[in-house]
């Protein structure tokens, strides 16, 4: 029997089996072929990824080790910056892809160095022309590349990049925006306060946590004039301003903070109560007393607790009636505040109708 060639076999298949399939069967066959081909492609890609990853990792690890060694020798004073630059230039000549790895290592090293060390690294970066790579990344379409470049610019204090950073401030990507603000504060440029349209921008609690942590690392004189945020039209920035006043012990802002207890945003009110609790200023007491008459729920309980922490015995008369409040949690808060103000177990027992509250408050095992 003669063997059919490959082409003949396909033609035969088309003429016989495929022709005999109904539209329903053809649809099924198409789905089988598409699914199978997709699965094969995915498996091949996964295997390819694994192979490439292993090879790339080996190359990158070796290169990174050489660069780290070079920088370590330079830091030890055995290499001049010129020698180091020329050694790294050799690496760049061998493989232009080495640029990103060198940048990574320089960035990682810069985090470990003091302010003075940054200028030498900046010089190294410029010598290798890698600052251009930074700018290129900053101009890229992808937010993550822009963010990475911004981190490096801020860390290495590359002041010449300031106009580029300002240009990006209106971004909607919060990760990038955080890094931009951090970089500009690190570069000592406060003009971003005017540049950024903070009256209309949202500022989440997450952004506030990150920025607060970064501001904490700065000296007082480097801090942005955050008091101006207390009058912002956007609650997020007001909230952040209040939190910064608390954190940086701004006793001079107590009056402004007191007025913010009338702010429509409940989170702002709670932040002011927290600030008063932390600052412990007697100037806050009149604001708190006034606030007690309008607050309910959580805010009332917090206001009572804050007043209890003020240590003013005159407040006993004010807090007394709250031990008979309709909300049992408010009652407990009032009793707790009165305990803080120095009332004894017997005195509190006379005020409360529920002995369990007193047991709870005076149980030494419950701290």
């Amino acid at each position: 029997m003669m063997r059919m060639s490959q082409t003949e076999w396909i033609v035969d298949l088309e003429n016989t089996w495929l022709d005999s399939l109904s539209p329903f069967q053809l649809l099924l066959l198409t789905l089988v072929v598409i699914s199978t081909l997709t699965a094969v492609f995915l498996v091949a890609h996964v295997i390819g990824l694994m192979l490439i990853r292993n090879r790339r990792k080996w190359w990158a690890d070796a290169l990174q080790a050489r660069i780290e060694d070079g920088i370590a020798i330079w830091l030890a004073g055995d290499y001049s910056i010129r020698e180091l630059t020329s050694a790294f230039q050799e690496e760049l000549k061998k493989d232009p892809g080495a640029g990103k790895i060198i940048l990574n290592v320089i960035f990682a090293t810069s985090k470990l160095l003091r302010q003075e060390g940054q200028s030498a690294l900046r010089q190294l970066l410029t010598g290798l022309d890698l600052h251009q790579l930074c700018y290129k990344l900053l101009k890229s379409r992808h937010w993550y590349q822009q963010t990475y470049a911004t981190q490096i610019i801020g860390q290495l204090q590359m002041e010449e990049a300031l106009p580029l950073l300002k240009h990006k401030l209106k971004t909607k990507n919060s990760t990038l925006r955080l890094e931009l603000i951090t970089a500009m504060v690190a570069l000592g440029d406060q003009s971003w306060l005017q540049e950024i349209d903070y009256n209309s921008a949202h500022l989440s609690d997450w952004e506030q946590i990150v920025l607060l942590e970064r501001f904490r690392r700065l000296n007082t004189e480097q801090l942005p004039p955050f008091e101006s945020w207390l009058t912002s039209a956007h609650a997020g920035w007001v909230l952040f301003g209040v939190r910064l006043c608390r954190h940086f012990n701004r006793f001079d802002q107590v009056l402004k903070l007191g007025n913010l207890l009338q702010h429509p945003d409940k989170k702002v009110q709670m932040a002011v109560l927290d600030a008063f609790d932390y600052l412990g200023s007697p100037e806050a007491i009149p604001f708190l007393i006034r606030y007690m008459h309008q607050a309910t729920g959580d805010r009332l309980r917090t206001a009572i607790r804050v007043l209890g922490n003020q240590g003013d015995p005159d407040l006993v008369r004010l807090l007394g009636p709250y031990t008979a409040h309709t909300d049992p949690i408010v009652q407990l808060s009032a009793l707790s505040a009165l305990k803080e103000l120095g009332l004894t177990k017997i005195e509190l027992g006379q005020l409360s109708s529920n002995p369990n509250y007193i047991d709870h408050l005076f149980d030494p095992k419950l701290r």
């Binding site: 996964v46 993550y144 997450w206 946590i209 990150v210 701290r367």
Partner: protein, 478 residues
């Protein structure tokens, strides 16, 4: 009209259903991949340790119900107490254990009974005592001793005792990543326009993984074929589906093994329900319904990072009981909240999520079985020929394999949990053979769950766990 005509009609209905299901899975897989890529990129810029020193981090209470967990409870508590977060407490609820669960905790942490004032915010059985550690190092541990009432009752007791603005409900025998709370808190903090009411995390199987001191040391694909098939199943569910649902704010289920909730919203919704074995899904659906009815802007978020490692069943018997219970829980949820079915007042929940769960999560095993039986009958009767029958099976099989390969590919492109050639090979092999033995069994268990539900069966049934890198321990669940 002859039999052939009706056979054609039914065939096209089955085909349409299948094609739609395939389309939904593919669309959600692609959407998930996009979201995960963005999430991974963003996470690479986030230093979660910043929360550790921040005075702005909200308090989190971890609620872990325990029933007859004496053998591992001290280790489990140790693991929870060592989580990274600046402001948290661990509330272990001893749900009327018949063994020494409570005593072991008392001895290990030198607990003392307190006069703690319990606020009955949600319904739960009598709390016998609240214990606190006197050692400053573990002052964030609270143990609640209560009458037995089941998992939802124990969680409600925890809610009544806990002090956090947010609470995480977890299975006490799960292994959490050290930074799980740091990662899960982020969605609550970054929303400005809507209230995040709950966040879920990815659950992965820890069978055959190396765990030491409550920490995951080495990730391996399990040797046991049932567990291995579940690894793939979890990858498909968590990497290809839930992330996409969360992206359109359509998530109805946050696994009971790990979820972070806004306490105020949960209390207002009434806490966990005692009426169902699907209490985790039921709570999310009730919270969502409440928010929709109040016209409040809200979100249910999902973290695609693998945060929680749990032990999967390794025997057919236990797997069957687990799937049976899941089906009954799902049927309860669908029944309790039938009002939202295609109800535009409930927006995404009513128009997309609920119908999907109804048509493709609950009905899929039934329709799949009916479709198979129907095709066999048609083949026997000679209405369809052998080619059609085998093509139909080949379509379903090749699609299932393709979807599994897609899940493996997404994992390799993002989290890269299984790095070795051996693990990758094991996953690919199970992707090829799982449709022959594992999937049919889960379909069977699901149908059994439907039958049991109609017969009025309640309760969890017993679950036996081997223990994660620990001595084997039988733990009948409450």
């Amino acid at each position: 009209m002859n039999l052939s005509f009706w056979a054609d009609i039914l065939s096209y209905i089955f085909l349409l259903y299948t094609l739609l299901l395939m389309l939904i899975y593919i669309v959600s897989a692609l959407a998930s991949y996009r979201v995960i890529r963005k999430h991974v990129a963003e996470a690479s810029f986030v230093d979660f340790r910043q929360i550790l020193t921040s005075p702005l981090s909200p308090k989190i209470s971890i609620i872990a119900p325990a029933y007859n967990e004496a053998l591992n409870i001290v280790d489990n508590a140790k693991s929870l107490l060592a989580l990274e977060y600046p402001n948290f407490e661990v509330v272990i609820v001893n749900d009327g254990s018949k063994d020494e669960t409570l005593q072991r905790l008392i001895d290990a942490y030198k607990l003392e009974k307190t006069s703690f004032l319990v606020q009955q915010q949600v319904e739960c059985k009598e709390i016998i005592g609240v214990y606190k550690a006197q050692d400053e190092a573990v002052s964030h541990l609270t143990v609640v001793d209560k009458r037995n009432g089941g998992k939802s009752d124990a969680l409600n007791a925890g809610i009544n005792v806990c002090a956090g603005q947010l609470f995480a409900c977890i299975d006490v025998d799960c292994v959490l990543e050290r930074d799980a709370l740091l990662r899960m808190i982020k969605p609550f903090l970054e929303e400005t326009d809507q209230k995040v009411i709950a966040t879920g995390g990815v659950i992965r199987l820890a069978n055959d993984c190396v765990i030491s001191d409550g920490r995951l040391i080495e990730i391996n694909v399990p040797r046991n074929l049932i567990a291995r098939a579940q690894v793939l199943e979890y990858m498909r569910a968590f990497l290809l589906s839930r992330v996409a649902w969360a992206n359109i704010n359509g998530l109805l289920l946050i696994s009971g093994a790990l979820g972070l909730f806004d306490k105020q919203t949960v209390v207002e919704a009434g806490g966990y329900s005692h009426k169902t074995v699907g209490e985790d899904m039921e709570l999310v659906m009730r919270m969502r319904r409440m928010m929709e009815e109040r016209k409040q802007s809200y979100a249910v978020r999902y973290i695609p990072d693998p945060l929680c490692w749990t032990e999967g069943p390794t025997s057919w018997d236990i797997l069957g009981r687990q799937r049976n219970r899941w089906t009954r829980g799902l049927m309860d949820c669908l029944k309790f909240h039938r009002k939202v079915f295609f109800n535009p007042d409930y927006r995404v929940m009513g128009m997309i999520s609920y119908p999907f769960w109804f048509l493709y999560e609950w009905l899929a095993p039934i329709i799949e079985s009916l479709g198979l039986i129907f095709s066999i009958i048609l083949w026997i009767l000679g209405i369809i020929n052998g080619s059609s029958f085998w093509l139909l099976l080949a379509t379903v099989y090749s699609y299932a394999v393709c979807l599994s390969c897609l899940a493996i590919w997404v994992d390799q492109k993002t989290y890269l949990q299984y790095r070795s050639r051996r693990d990758l090979g094991r996953l690919l092999v199970i992707a090829l053979i799982e449709p022959f033995f594992y999937h049919p069994f889960t379909v069977y268990s699901s149908i059994q769950g439907n039958i049991d539900y109609l017969r009025g069966k309640k309760g969890w049934g017993s679950m036996t766990r081997q223990g994660l890198s620990k001595p084997a321990t039988p733990t009948p669940s409450s």
